[in-house]
Amino acid sequence: MKKLEITILMLIILLGGFLRLYGLDKSPPSLNWDEAAFGYNAYSILHTGRDEYGKLLPLFTRSFDEYKPAIPIYLMIPLIAILGLNEVSVRMVSALSGIFSALVIFLIARKIFRSSIPGYFSAFFFAISPYSVYFSRVMFEVNLALLFFLLGFLLFLYKDKKFALSLSLFFFILSMYTYNSFRLLTPLFALGLFLLSRNELSKKRILIKNILFGFALLLPMVQSVLNGTAVARFQYTSILKFWPPPLWETLVQNHNLSGLFSFIIHNQFFYFFWELAARYIGYFSPANLFLRESAEPTLLIPSLAILNPFEFIFLSLGLFYILRNYPLYKQLVLLMLLAPIPAVITWNLFQSIRVLPLFVVFSFISGYGAYLILRALRSFSSEKNLQTFLVAIFLVGTITVGLWSAFYLFDSLMVILPMSYFGNWQPGFKQSMPIISHLQDQYDQIIIDSPHSNAYIFTLFYLKYPPEKYLNELNYEKISISPRNYYDFGKFKFRKIYWPDDRGGHKKLFMGTVYSLPEQDIKNTPNAKIIEDIKDPSGAVSVRIVSLD
């Protein structure tokens, strides 16, 4: 690569890196329970070689019965060893994945479009896109899976090089081990790539070797599928929740028909197909991509949707030209058409986290769209000065609007998210655990009542509870029941607090809300004392710590 190429790329990476790494512990304002679980399991494996359930070097860890992939956990271990167990070390894997993905996107775009310029644009749009920045700032394993997937794609494009095909296969399969939706998308896309390039993959011996290599890598996955761990999450998210389709039910109730007529007029297969189609089309809807905030609290980017609005023109133009010259960009079109499939078979209407590869395709296409405009401006006039002027205006304009969008996003994440959307991020644990840690030795029991699920994992994480101790204190018989409903360990009890019953004991520490620990009732109990009220940014008490001496 030339010096200029490297400089531009470095600037893009720096910008992307800044947006992803700055204040990683401050925004989002606290960890969600999945992040805490990733972090604590990594911490546990680092110290004991076992996950929180005592399983030795697992491929999937049970966590909240949805069986999390362990690959992100293993990558987190060295970071936790260096930086300690905290928000930054937990989120760093995802953040770095986002940064490296921008580089891979540049390389893929350069290869597909046979020019570096669409690559710069694609990498730039990706580096500042709200979805990528946001998903990089939270430990979403999908971000790592996306990097693996993109590496697989990139290496496939260089399949003529030695070992490129094997490495491509390796990364593709790694993506399957890392996030659920890739378990469906990757095989479909890999098969599609193979079919599109079957004439180029003529060396049968190499092909057979690679197929065998792929099967070998997939064997543990097959085992996990058979015992249900690799598909556990699908049971909670399947679209079969909409069978029979709700609209069909309403129509049948209001308009009773029978026999063949009913089958034709009120056909549940048709309405179910409609549910699927609504989801599929929804992932291409400009309103979802550019206008709507996410309906899912932990995926919500304040005041922004998935992509920056200014990309709309580039995306429309690029999409049009790519579809028009489809034979040249078959791989991109294939990925674009396949990417929504894993999301379509789930019940959510528009779940951005399940279709990240689709958004990456949009970054490619927007990049190409911008390149087309640039190319058109260069040939707009035969006069060199005018050409240069137009190109300069375009570049300055795009970079200015791009930078504005990047800093608007930065402001939304650093200011609006912690201030207005703190409620989506389980407020209170981060601030209260140092107090609990300081006091825990003075009490026989610590009772934690939380409005949030999975309080035990936040306790383990923020207390940095020694994993050896935790594994010794676990009641393996009680936690073997699935879904898990028992979380106590050591002196920590996780249950509802009902003050009229609870006020009778001694040497107990309570952590709850203003509803479970009402101020007046505490004052009326002689040996009870409010130790601390933890307030959220709006000034309301999110956690109350009470001692019973």
């Binding site: 609209l247 308009h255 089309i281 206008l291 709309f312 049009f320 579809l323 028009r324 650093m414 201030m419």
Partner: protein, 561 residues
């Protein structure tokens, strides 16, 4: 013989088009009620509801009813009276007439568009006609929306007349029709402006572009005639997105957040956030957002399936699908083929797009529909001619089309409660229950929390327009400088708190349950209220205020002696 067969075929399509649009029993929309009562008023008093004699611009309570829609309905209401049939018949007829003009217009294009000259040209015309006939969006518009139906009819007619280049009378008439279309629907203005400019350019070269200025002149005249129209025009177009007053509050809010939170770019007492939060960049961003807004697939294709998304927006999720799912990829494919094989058709697409973008709402895409239907027909023909799976794919598409169409008609005809707008439905229920209400009670109070009840009352009760103009009481001026009607004789149209209101014997109060008893856990168990009895309930009312419940109550005051 051949000509006779063509006429017969067109006749058959026209009749089918009419039949599928026959839908008279569903409740009138707010727009229909407002427009038709204005027509009724003109017929009986020679004045619109605002006492203006044969006006060019009518002022409604929240909008400007379509001038041409009001005048077009006059003969129908004169002959048939004020009812659903007379209100909808002109829309259905103008929609069906549009079909014939549409077919004729495509036929006219055969000399310019090579694809129409080939053997499949006739199939393309027939297919476009069929898609037009059965398009769910067109069906709905041709039943309920006379304004847009008329605008489309005028644009098609104007366009056809323009093709007679050597006949100046026809050409001028074409210009007049195009200039009239904004009087039918203001959304059509960019469309007609685009077509005028294009036709002018084709005939006179660059000088002909001046014709476009005529359209702008028309608009300025309309604004001059009524200053409120200018406000309305801006409010309903992308212009409102660019005006700083519409987003400066957002800038201030963000800046104030930054102050409170001590943003990282609040450096050394200087607020660098101004670099991000300023009106220039917000304005530019809003332009992009305005461009994107019309392309709302959830609203266009699947309001039933996507309610959770749409409910968060101002768009009502209670609506029939406008475009079937399978049509979207077909339309996209068609556009790509048009670019390659029939680029001259693009002017129609560009014209339609201008209206969509200008309106900044999905409804504006209606004017792009003609182009999209032709594109879809081209895509279907291309698929049919595919060497591999062409026939199978076509058969599958046909099957899906038929199923979608059956489902659509089932919804349209048999499940009105699923798609009729909530306010239209509830007002229809209220005024069906209260026939000649003034004869039975000393005073009636009807809540205005379910739309503006006045126009529905006037329509359903055929209230004498002369009386209405003389006895109505006007309320305050709202933010759009429009004065709302507060009462007519002894009927009040206001939201109320029953317990705090002045109650007298022999009164009827119609409102949401919460307006009578406040927030309550079980409205369904309540049959009596203070000084009154609930004589009728309507259940399942959807409205935004959760404290008011989902029941509509009719309460008669009863005082113990």
């Amino acid at each position: 013989m051949k000509k006779a067969f063509t006429i017969f075929l067109i006749g058959v399509i026209f009749i089918v088009c009419l039949i599928v649009r026959f839908q008279f029993d569903s409740p009138v929309t707010y727009q229909e009620a407002t427009e038709s009562y204005n027509s009724y008023s003109l017929l009986l008093t020679g004045k619109g509801v605002n006492r203006e004699r044969w006006p060019m611009i009518f002022k409604g309570e929240e909008n400007f009813p379509s001038t041409l829609a009001i005048y077009t309905r006059l003969p129908f209401i004169k002959i048939l009276g004020l009812n659903n049939f007379s209100v909808r018949l002109p829309a259905i007829l103008s929609g069906s007439l549009s079909l014939i003009l549409f077919l004729f217009w495509i036929y006219q294009q055969r000399n310019f568009i090579p694809i129409l000259q080939r053997s499949e040209g006739k199939i393309l015309i027939t297919l476009s006609g069929l898609l037009f006939t059965f398009s769910p969006w067109l069906i709905v518009q041709h039943i309920f929306n006379l304004a847009d139906s008329l605008a489309l009819l005028l644009i098609l007619a104007g366009n056809i007349l323009h093709s007679f280049r050597n006949n100046k009378t026809f050409w001028t008439l074409g210009v007049v029709l195009l200039l009239l279309s904004p009087l039918a629907s203001v959304k059509s203005l960019p469309f007609s402006l685009f077509i005028l400019s294009y036709q002018g350019y084709k005939l006179y070269g660059r000088k002909g572009l001046g014709l476009g200025l005529l359209s702008i002149g028309t608009l300025l005249i309309l604004i001059k005639l009524n200053s409120g129209f200018g406000t309305y025009f801006i409010r309903n177009s992308i212009i409102s997105d660019i005006i700083p007053s519409n987003y400066s509050w957002k800038i201030e809010r963000r800046l104030s957040y930054d102050q409170v939170e001590q943003s990282t770019i609040l450096v050394g007492g200087k607020n660098l956030n101004r670099l991000i939060h300023n009106k220039y960049l917000y304005g530019l961003n809003n332009v992009f957002l305005g461009l994107i807004s019309p392309f709302n697939f959830e609203y266009l294709s699947s309001p039933f399936q996507t309610q959770p998304l749409l409910e968060k927006e101002s768009i009502s999720p209670k609506a029939l699908p406008k475009i079937f799912f399978l049509e979207l990829p077909l339309m996209l494919l068609g556009i790509i083929i048009v670019f390659k094989k029939a680029p001259k058709l693009l002017f129609l697409g560009a014209a339609g797009l201008s209206s969509a973008v200008f309106s900044g709402s999905p409804d504006g895409l209606f004017y792009l529909l003609l182009f999209l239907l032709i594109a879809e027909a081209i895509a279907l023909i291309t698929i049919y001619h595919l060497k591999k799976f062409g026939f199978t794919l076509s058969l599958l598409i046909l099957l899906l089309f038929c199923t979608s169409q059956i489902s659509f008609f089932d919804l349209l005809k048999n499940h009105q409660t699923e798609w009729v707008a909530e306010n239209d439905l509830r007002q229809w229920q209220i005024w069906n229950r209260l026939k000649n209400p003034l004869n039975n009670y000393s005073k009636i109070t009807v809540t205005n929390r379910l739309g503006e009840p006045v126009n529905y009352f006037l329509f359903y009760n055929k209230y004498p327009p002369g009386d209405y103009q003389a006895v109505r009481t006007l309320g305050g001026i709202n933010e759009d400088l429009i004065r709302q009607v507060r009462s007519i004789k002894n009927i009040d149209f206001i939201s109320f708190k029953y317990l705090e209101s002045d109650r007298k014997p022999n009164q009827l109060w119609v409102g949401l349950a919460g307006e009578f008893v406040g927030k309550f856990n079980s409205y369904k168990d309540v049959n009596e209220v203070s000084d009154g009895k609930v004589i009728y309930k309507i259940n399942g009312v959807k409205q935004s205020d959760q404290y008011l419940g989902d029941e509509l109550w009719f309460v008669e005051t009863r005082f113990e002696k």
